[in-house]
């Protein structure tokens, strides 16, 4: 049996956990972007939803507590949540920051309890140790686990046994099935399937004619046959992506390019940390209207040094740039390979290569002492300063509650209870 763990209003619940005086209050995060990234259960019950503007949300709920997103604390909680799940089973797939799939098969005897019992213990541990709630879905396949979680939200535990699959699928609309997009849902409806149960009960050959492989996988999964495999913890990164939204959107070409270069510096930094490099780089720009334009390019040799990528990236950028307003840039380093030993190409000066290695070794050391981007390419200069002066309260409280020895750049990796003690 598989288990799906899904954090309830994860970002907002974490805020309520480290600031317990916010328990029971409508809390949202996303202040820095003016768009709601997460809403607490109390806020949701009063009509606030993810993706709403703060302006609209405040109209619905005047006493809404609005906070900036504290990615650092969220990451600490995410890691702990996944660690707790690993206490009970070694097979865990981290599915995003607030979700996980776990395989519980064969562990009942070891834990002396049922699958539901194991999940309930995990749930108690997470609740007790982290002060947040999660919803648990137990089922024979990932897709059914997702449906179980949908039924159990928030804080519930729902188990779908093989013999009871049908009764759970009866009132699930096809578009609410995991991995079923609007196009597939429309197609299924056209062929008379409104619910997950109707879809599940069609003969295999019938669905095979109608849908491609991913759709077929979903059909198997609804029928209790595992078709979507487990992706366990990645030991090495296969690709590294970095993107960043800037507010307000900009039509300044060099500013947008600088943002892109900064993402490349960040991605390379991460790649170097794992001793990985790439020859393939994808860049993309996102317009104010949320349209993305991307392009892929290659360089001579596996690298993780921005200097060696920037020439190619500038050419790619020139090809995709069109005058207009942009809100984000991003970069993917794909097909990562070990960085060392680096092979100089035939016509390349190996001395230059040694110098880059030394240079970025030094830059990485400076970063340790002076923070990210202590040294950066001139091309990313525009992106290094804050584009807009952040208003008060845009910075997570944790960054202002420093303890002796912490700096604005580096803090202890332990969640801090942010309360006023009497």
């Amino acid at each position: 049996m598989l288990l799906h763990v899904d954090g309830d209003s994860f970002f907002a619940s974490i805020e309520q956990s480290v600031k317990p005086y916010l328990k029971g209050k409508p809390v949202v995060t996303g202040k820095e972007r003016n768009i709601i990234a997460a809403a607490s259960i109390e806020a949701k019950m009063r009509g606030v939803a993810r993706g709403m503007t703060l302006w609209d949300a405040k109209k619905v709920v005047p006493d809404l507590v609005v906070l900036p997103t504290d990615y650092e604390t969220v990451s600490l909680f995410s890691k702990r949540m996944h660690d707790i799940i690993r206490r009970y089973t070694p097979i865990v797939e981290e599915y995003g920051v607030d979700e996980a799939f776990a395989d519980l098969t064969g562990l009942r005897r070891y834990h002396h309890t049922s699958y539901e019992g194991i999940a309930a213990k995990m749930q108690q541990d997470i609740h007790g140790e982290l002060g947040i709630t999660v919803t648990m879905g137990i089922a024979p396949t990932k897709t059914l686990c997702k449906i179980a979680v949908d039924k159990g939200k928030p804080a519930g535990l729902v188990s779908i046994s093989r013999s009871r699959i049908d009764e759970f699928l009866r009132d699930v609309a096809v578009e609410d099935i995991w991995n079923v997009g609007p196009a597939t849902a429309a197609l299924l409806r056209k062929y008379g399937m409104q619910t997950a149960l109707q879809f599940k009960q069609k003969p295999e050959e019938y669905i095979q004619k109608l849908l491609t492989k991913p759709g077929m996988q979903t059909w198997y999964e609804l029928n209790g046959m595992q078709a979507i495999l487990f992706e366990e913890q990645k030991v090495s990164y296969k690709s590294i992506g970095k993107s960043k939204t800037f507010t307000p959107p900009s039509n300044d070409k060099e500013f947008v390019f600088a943002q892109l270069v900064k993402n490349i510096e960040n991605a390379c930094m991460k790649a170097r940390r794992y001793h990985q490099g790439t020859r393939t780089i994808v860049i993309y720009l996102r317009t104010k209207e949320f349209r993305s334009i991307g392009i892929e390019g290659t360089v001579e040799r596996v690298t993780a040094y921005p200097n060696e990528l920037i020439g190619a990236v500038r050419k790619m950028f020139e090809r995709v740039w069109k005058p207009g307003y942009y809100r984000a840039t991003g970069v993917f380093l794909s097909n990562l390979q070990p960085l060392n030993p680096m092979q100089p190409t035939l016509f390349e000066n190996p001395v230059k290569l040694i110098r880059y290695t030394a240079l970025y070794g030094a830059i990485d050391n400076l970063r340790e002492h002076y923070g990210k981007h202590a040294v950066h390419l001139g091309a990313s200069l525009h992106a290094q300063k804050n584009q807009h002066i952040s208003s008060r309260g845009d910075v997570p409280l944790r960054r202002e509650m420093l303890i002796k020895g912490e700096t604005k750049r580096k803090r202890l990796p332990i969640p801090m209870l942010q309360v006023k003690l009497r």
Partner: protein, 111 residues
């Protein structure tokens, strides 16, 4: 040729400060008052506590008393929890409603 260093093997039996102080459910809190000074906990100390741990009499706990946050000694008296300060300027609290958030595990002070 020099003798191989025994350091690596010998150090296998040591633990880091992190392992010594941090457990799966530890949180920290900055101390903002002197209510526990006679227990050796002063303003600006960092206290490490275990969230979700069930307290027993004599533990120092972080507790929510009807929306007020306190760090105090926890004592069960006549089957009711009582919170004791370690400073005569603070009063003993016998709360109607009490939620213990965690139990103190260590105190850290940087001079």
């Amino acid at each position: 040729m020099s003798w191989p260093s025994p350091a690596e093997e010998e150090l296998l039996d040591t633990i880091s400060f992190d392992e010594w102080l941090i457990e799966a459910s530890t949180f920290m809190v900055n101390v903002q008052n002197d209510a526990m000074q006679n227990a050796g906990i002063f303003t600006d100390d960092v206290v490490i506590f275990r969230r979700g741990q069930k307290p027993k009499s004599g533990d120092i706990v972080i507790a929510d008393v009807e929306g007020e946050w306190m760090m105090r000694y926890y004592q069960i008296e006549e089957e009711r929890p009582v919170l004791y300060p370690a400073n005569g300027n603070y009063s003993v609290v016998t709360p109607e409603e009490l939620t213990v958030i965690g139990v103190i595990r260590s105190v850290i002070r940087r001079y």
